[in-house]
Symmetry: C2
Subunit: 229 residues, 2 copies
């Protein structure tokens, strides 16, 4: 019985990795679609999010069935409950990638992002994808050092986010309000996406060490954008 049980636990872990892989790919493709104003690619990102949602539902159902049948305690219980949370983070990340794709579709055939912000948005998209790839690796390897590294990468995202805002409020901004609104929301989507990737990694730290990541490396403070935290 224990073997089937650990197989089930493993399958939940596999499901999380698969979700992370899908939403990592989604944010990369959504960013490309946005910068290229590629409607077809944007549509494919929007559709693909359904697969992420299905994976989440399946994973949750399995986790709850496992709680009911196997009644895990201690570490195993913590793994299952934490997996539920990670799946919620990953599902939400998928939504955010989908929001980027929907903005592309909304503005098509125009480009939502003006040329002088392409490099920054590209960097944000790439960093988001990298963060999620690392989060997936952390799920597989349970590497606490790598997990803590994600917070530093997230600081990079905050810097990019600030660069974006500085462009926006620069007197030379000439792209009008609608584009400013789009870029503001885009910045928020990437920032939140990164937050969720970091949250996934932090939850693994909690599983491995029993401590919350903030307690381990309390000198790393989240630096957020406009909300002035």
């Amino acid at each position: 019985m224990r073997d089937a049980y650990h197989e089930e636990l493993d399958s939940i872990g596999d499901g999380l990795v698969e979700m992370a892989r899908l939403v990592g790919s989604a944010i990369g493709r959504a960013t490309t679609a946005m910068l290229d104003a590629d409607l077809k690619l944007a549509e494919s990102v929007i559709e693909a999010d359904q697969k992420v949602d299905e994976l989440q539902h399946g994973l949750e159902a399995r986790a709850i069935a496992l709680l009911a049948r196997q009644q895990p305690v201690a570490t195993d219980l913590r793994i299952v409950v934490t997996s539920l949370r990670m799946s919620a983070d990953l599902e939400r990340s998928g939504d955010l990638a989908q929001h980027v794709a929907k903005l592309t579709r909304l503005r098509f055939p125009q480009r939502a992002v003006p040329q002088d912000l392409h490099a920054t948005i590209l960097e944000m998209g790439q960093l988001a994808q990298r963060l999620m790839a690392k989060a997936a690796e952390v799920i597989v390897t349970k590497d606490v050092d790598l997990a803590l590294q994600l917070e530093q990468d997230d600081d990079e995202m905050d810097l990019l986010h600030r660069t974006l805002f500085q462009h926006l409020i620069d007197d030379r901004w000439k792209h009008g309000i609608e584009t400013a609104v789009d870029v503001t929301l885009l910045g928020r989507y990437y920032e939140r996406y990164a937050d969720h990737a970091v949250a996934v990694a932090k939850r693994v730290v909690y599983l491995v060490t029993g401590e919350h990541a903030d307690e381990i490396q309390s000198d790393i403070q989240p630096v957020t954008g406009v909300e002035g935290a």
Copy 2:
């Protein structure tokens, strides 16, 4: 033993209601602070969010202890797992109220919201608070009809959100880009806050009926703002 057990379940429900009460108050006070440029009130909202976080941590610890000790199955298991999700929604709602307060602090002594948008932002704040009050009532009463009503109220939020955007992209907008950025983020905070209140209510529907709210009233589609959903 079963009695102590149901007392624990009840105490988790009480914790959720208390969280909803606090974050409902927070969004109301954050909105007032913003419209009045009241730094002291904004600071109090920012500080009070810690209490919400503490409640969430306590609630989660109790829920996990209950899973370990009592090993609930069927409905009771569903209640505990769903409570964990509701507490995450409520904690996030608290963060969003805090973001509104932080924006007030960031712009103080200026007002973040121009006068001609006060009425719309006031309505968004009031509606958000009302949604959360109803969500709390749904937790207490498990009233499915009231829960489904929340989705209609959320449509109202989407309308207000759209009104806000129309103001922004109107050619007569004269408040500059920085204010446009602030208002865009504010709109997003209220919209997300409302989403979480609706999510809480939907989770109660799921608990009571075993069906997801969307399946019951599939004609109500979420209408979101700029992401073009």
